[in-house]
Amino acid sequence: MLDLINVSYDTQIPNNVGLSEDKKVLKALEKWHPGYINWWNDLIPQNFQDSMVYLRTAVSVDPKGWAKFDYVKMPEYRWGVLLAPAVEDRKIPMGEHKGETAWQEVPGEYRNMLKRLIVIQGDTEPGSVEQQKFLGLTAPSLYDMRNLFQVNVEEGRHLWAMVYLLQKYFGRDGREEANELLVRSSGSEDAPRMLGAFNEETPDWLSFFMFTYFTDRDGKMQLESLAQSGFDPLSRTCRFMLTEEAHHMFVGETGVGRTIQATLEAMNANGITDPYDVGKIRDLGVIDLPTIQKKLNLHYTLSLDLFGQEVSTNAANAFNAGIKGRYMEQRIDDDHQLQNDTYPVTSIVDGQIKTEDVPALTAINMRLRDDYVRDAAGGVGRWNKLIAKSGIEFELKLPHEGFHRQIGVFSTVAVDPDGAIMSSEEWMKRQDEWLPTKADGDFIQSLMVPCYEAGKYASWIAPPKVGIDNKPGDFEYVKLHMA
């Protein structure tokens, strides 16, 4: 009998979907595999590829087996196709098909819609690895380097997950799309990644932490809503990806938190109480809190753009079709069809920011973005607790959702972080107060010196409170290959 919990290694591709008995898909994936390995090998500097990294790998997809830790070279990481266990007799949770048995095959009428959603999700996964490819060179510790590589290999696996769906369920189109995923490249002139935030640079580690906190959180929200899908293989894929995504959230939240902690400790040790005494604080080799606020402003607003238009018929169609749900759909207490409900959406009327009720079905994106904002605010609150505990008077804030937006109703107006509409000239004049300047970037860059000694950390970041897999403080998370 097919074992759908434990990971099978009887093909080149670890999987729990019975690949060895599915010759056609196996062949397609094996054909795709070398291109993937090439993509990986060309991406990350060679000495890291040859290093032993203490990574987590799934040996089964039930809770007991999916977090086994051991040293592995990244190119030998067991990328594979892992789906969460099937829920028996699962029903479509929302939309016009609500209550019908979930689809095990792609329903013809929704084929294109589904393919597009899977391709967009798939495109973000390699995109972020491309953005982060050089960060190992400036890792502030072996602990952080290990976390970076864990994020990278798991994004790689998420690409695999999406490619499997394309190859298995979308025939020739799917194969072409799978190949295209390896052709497009972050920041490329000719073939950029599909979403803007994945073409931005990740030039330094604070950017990386902000990215994993804010941008990967958008990924988490998208995965949450795809996990509701009536197309069961997509739902199961996304449910398993979410357990891995949680690690990325962890890297972001603790990374920013530890950066703040190092700043607070340095300020207190040197008797600096004014957080705006930027020059003196920077002389201590830490990043001042106002600059951290600016980085937050940037990454938060880029991430808000990922949610698309506030009012969207595409999103309405996907929900109605039972293809994509809402965040925590099962826990929402309504009819899950939204035929008669409304939802408040912001809009610009006569140069003013207003809220108006629109049909809830068309406001799916807005609702997901609101859930995102709430989720993102939690960590900011916990960072502020660190600051409050240190006695320094400063509070980090999420800027107004109209600030610095390229997509949606706010893209036509200039809004400051407090939500005041102003002229574009005024905004341009003042943007250096709100967003990181080149000088800010240069300063952060100047701190990006590698720290490769086990248990040691660069000046600008505090050690973690708990080690990965409960390891002690000086554990050698990466055994660096010395060329």
């Binding site: 809770p63 007991k64 087996g65 999916w66 830790f69 988490k220 357990t243 949680a246 959230m249 409960n470």
Partner: protein
Amino acid sequence: MNAPVKQHLIDPEICIRCYTCEMTCPLNAIEHDDNNVVVNADICNFCMDCIPVCPTGSIDEWRVVETPYTLEQQYEFEELPEQEDIEAAPASADQSAADPVAALLAEAHAGAGGKAKAPVSSAKPTVNMYTLGKPATMKVQGNYRLTDDPDHDVRHIILDPGGVPFPVLEGQSVGIIPPGTDEDGKAHLPRLYSVSSPRDGERPGYHNISLTVKREDKGLASNYLCDLKQGEDVQVTGPFGATFLLPSKPDAHLLLICTGTGSAPMRAFTMQRQRSGATGGMTMFFGARTPESLPYFGPLKKVPEAILKQHLVFSRVPDQAKEYVQDRMIAQEDAIADMLQDDRTHIYICGLRGMEEGVEKALTSIAESVGIQWINQRDVMREDGRYHVETY
């Protein structure tokens, strides 16, 4: 008073509110508000599905409590409450009868001359997680003879808790329940043994535990243990003990004084200090009849002196004068006197009760040589969590 129960909690200072645990829990025992993620003690059945999916480690927290923290209390947590020292509750006659383990430990620690305290920086121990009514089942992974002396059959026994969490710190004990019943037809009470492996396992990361057991003539539990074969199941209670623990400070210096199987916690200490890269060093006085009857004689020889300075002392070597640990301590008077005056020093004494008197006398005389009154010094160190005695 309610009987203490084990409660699963989440550390709000480490948790990132990803709610993966909540989505994983098969019983919906985990929920959250805008502040915290909490575990409903009425529902949680310790299935442990939530433990590996947590990206932070905040989920692996346990407290033994008389009344579980309510959801409302947990929602208000800014940080985790500390484990209350349930073992050290005042041992009235009634309670000793009700809790034989606490009574046994109190008796074993009596030689410290007052109420035992854990080192300030020690890791927080989990206690009483498994009880006589609900023991953990462990599998024997190995049973090795440590000594080469027909009168002294000492065994190194490795037990694997499998998927069951058994968080035990060096210096803690576990209870072994011998199978069968006593004359009155009642199940046997657990016998206590110190673990001789460090916190992350005999093999690092595997969380298996080892025991050091000497076969006692007619001893029910010791004969049962020493005869165990690989693959057999053993019923285990505990962990027990919240004071005979290691300091976490890497620069602490440990003075370890033991005889026979009193070496069990010392082995755990040594391994943990080695694995954690502690810098403060250790000095050991270890007494046995002969090298052949000294447990871990071979492995000890491989521990570098920079980590553990060893004084292995023998009382029955043919053609040699009898030497006991206290004799060697007196011979090392200057070194020990320096240690007594250094507040990084932590003293641990473990072995047969008979060793207490001699060691106490030696320490008194060494302290006097530098003008210190030992009784006072001992009380200061004990209050500080730096003087520990466990004898039986």
